[in-house]
Amino acid sequence: MDMKITVDDQVITVNGDDNLLAACLSAKQDVPYFCWHPALGSVGSCRQCAVKVFQGPDDTTGRIVMACMTKLTPGMRVAIADEQAVEFREAVVETVLTNHPHDCPVCEVGGECHLQDMTVMTGHKARRYRYEKRTNINQDLGPFIRHEMNRCIGCYRCVRFYQDYAGGDDFGVFGSNRNVYFGRDEDGALESQFAGNLVEVCPTGVFVDKPFSAKFRRKWDMRSTPSVCPHCAVGCNITVQERGGQLRRVVNRYNETLNGYFLCDRGRFGTGFVESPARLRNSRNKTNAVLPASEAHAQLADILKTPGTIGIGSPRASIEANFALRQLVGAENFYAGVSEFDSAALQSAVAIARQVGLARVQDAEQADAVLVLGDDPAAIAPRLALALRQSSQRVPSEILAQRDIPAWDAGAAKLASHEVMNPFFVITDKPSWLDPMATQALRRTSQEIITLATEVASAIGSHASNSDIAQALLKARQPVIAVSGDAALLKAAANIVLALRAAGVPAKLSLMLPEANSLGLGLIDSRPLSAALAACQGQNIIVLENDLFLRSDRAGELLASARNVCVLDHIETSSVKQATLAVAVGSFADSDGTFVNCEGRAQRFFKAIFRNEGTTQSWALLRDAGLQAGLDIAAAWPTHVALLADLASTLPNLAVCAEASPETQGARPATLSYRYSGRTAATAHIDVREPLPPQHDDSPLGTTMEGPPIHAQTGVKPVMWTPGWNSAQAVNKFQDVIGGAISGSNEVFVFETPSNITTAFEVAGAQTTDSRVLGLEEMSELSPAIIARHQAGSAS
């Protein structure tokens, strides 16, 4: 409910369900805070967001309140600039700094530190504390996070995120009074697969990104490029930061309906593969001799020239790269190159998505009843699992109202959450991370799960009272069914959704597919590797960013049956080893492209790393080789935009990819900050003349520090910064309202509206063998940090 309040004599319209702090921030007012977090809610522990509130028109004295713990009332009068409030806020920051080491110059967070920002915001300058500071011994928290406990200002955000939000139980707060210690009960790697978020959740430098620390640069000295995580089908939005042609780190890129403020550790630390020794940097021939790029590309052109060449696509390669290969070899010679299991699943996923539509991650978070079927979401789609966990913790609004608890009051809501739990069913073949949240967790074989899902659908259809699950789902207002597994199970789950909708319950379906572009590939082609094997009669084969040995145990047979095997990839794989021609290409971070995630969301990622090495993007490289081979079709793709236009006319299903790819209009947004330093000196030891900025025309983002801060048409914002807000929390300033969308951003979905067909899917019985290894993703497994994390093992 919107209402008007007065803040510093200015009338603003606010959402009455917010707290006063969120309302002030939404109105783009500066109010300092530490413990409040838009996703974690209010607990009132830091006392930093004090403002003055006046009771009625005659009150001239007012009363200091903590904005984060204050409900809004129509006509309320608030003073942020009130002298007493200003003094109090400065006193609070001065107090928490009594133990802070002021080590900003040697702290990785210096320059993007929320504590620094808030200190400046309060106007605090001079230090008066002259006694001994509390000091702590740091712990070894594993390969992802370095611990610098002395910097702690005790805001409790870390423990609230780790325990309450992410369900971790190996990290907490120890001791009491001034001697509180945030860490583990003993040294050891943090067990939560969301631990990396501590880096961004901590308002200062207690939890430091360890791999980043080893190749550290200041935030303002790195190029920031919007990107999409390539490590699973959720496609969380990330920002890739680079300098000197090296990927330095990945941070969360806020997207309110997808990943929000958080990533999983696979996403944050898995991208280390880009700089890992397993990276394929040079092209080679079958004798393993390094080929100059021009020679490798010429050989690729020769292969493309041969008629009947088979193209094998990949669910981890972009839409563009898959499409380019498909067009160059001809649709009939192009195969998705996945296992039979995945092939069947992809086919049904596409059919289901068209008819039923797909839930967004935000839908999963806001569900009031959940049914998980098949695999552990935490293994296959970690960020979605985290969203599902939140749904299970949400206290029904009736209970909150009855207890007089506003939804943002995290402390009170947590207490109330002990009383009531939303129905949450986890039916998997192996133990699931979500089991502790489940009102019912069942272990069943894959076949039994299909049978059970079918029974649930039919119980819903007949309103049978003998199924608890059906009853609970029928009572829900926005249930979500999250499923992963084989084609039959996906269909059985879709049938539950159809049955619920027929009963008037607006249920949604979340398909947890295996890879970043699984659904995108499924929309181009879904034929399995076995089909390619059947078709191969000694032709040439081009494999695009795919290790066939992970897809089928007959991969060797296929490669052996081909005349020439050309593998385009950016990592060393078994297939690369078997190739007669291995062509080094760019990773996602070196490329422009589009993934379609498991929600059917088409998401563009942009070239983020610039090295002096010519074209490496698969699609552009294939185009150039195609042109060299005299294939006219390649001439239709002089630019990325042109390729998307061709894609739209060839595969109308994927026409939306053009929408997801903002066009350059006017000045291109800067990917370097205003303060980017050393540009003229970085290469001075080689040549004192300043090098030209990288030239790159396939991205709507500029490569320099010149240009607007935001892409006017799409809201894409490379550098998250605004004066006074140097940390990740600068995002506040770019959201329409706190926790809402980034202003001007748009989202593009392939399956916009589900069809009105209500016919149930036919669920086949017998299934192909499931040879998937869950919880492991090929590329992230090559990241040195992930390898180190596996070696560190689990303490429990």
Partner: protein, 160 residues
Amino acid sequence: MTAKSILTAAELDGIAALISHYPTARAACIDSLKLVQEKRRYIADDVLAEIAHLLGMSVAELDEVATFYNLIYRQPVGETVILLCDSVTCWMMGRNQVAADISKRLAIKDGETTADGKYTMLPIVCLGHCDHAPAMLMGKTLVGNVDAAQLDRLLPEARA
């Protein structure tokens, strides 16, 4: 738990009885720590881990609680813990002199344990014996009007 229990049968029974006092096992955690500390004097890491397991808590969760409360000892203490009040009335009535006297007799400072493992000396907040200040707890015994003569009686092996 397949590994052999560190806790004795009596301790396990005691914890089970305490759990029955509350609707959740976790609620019995402070009682359980105190029960086990009775005989063991302090809560060693392995003991903490086993109690946590019994109560369905993680080690960190239980240690968060154990380290919060000052009467749960996570380090070894002596047979008798001397808790000498340091709050205002006792301070006014000479607790610092008493503390110095005990320190001298036992050759330990606050937080230390005598070499023979008999005594540990710790400050404590008001013991609710202000009309007999200075006050202290020797083990479970509340002692008021503590002075040199009292200490001669209570610490016979360490007469001034």
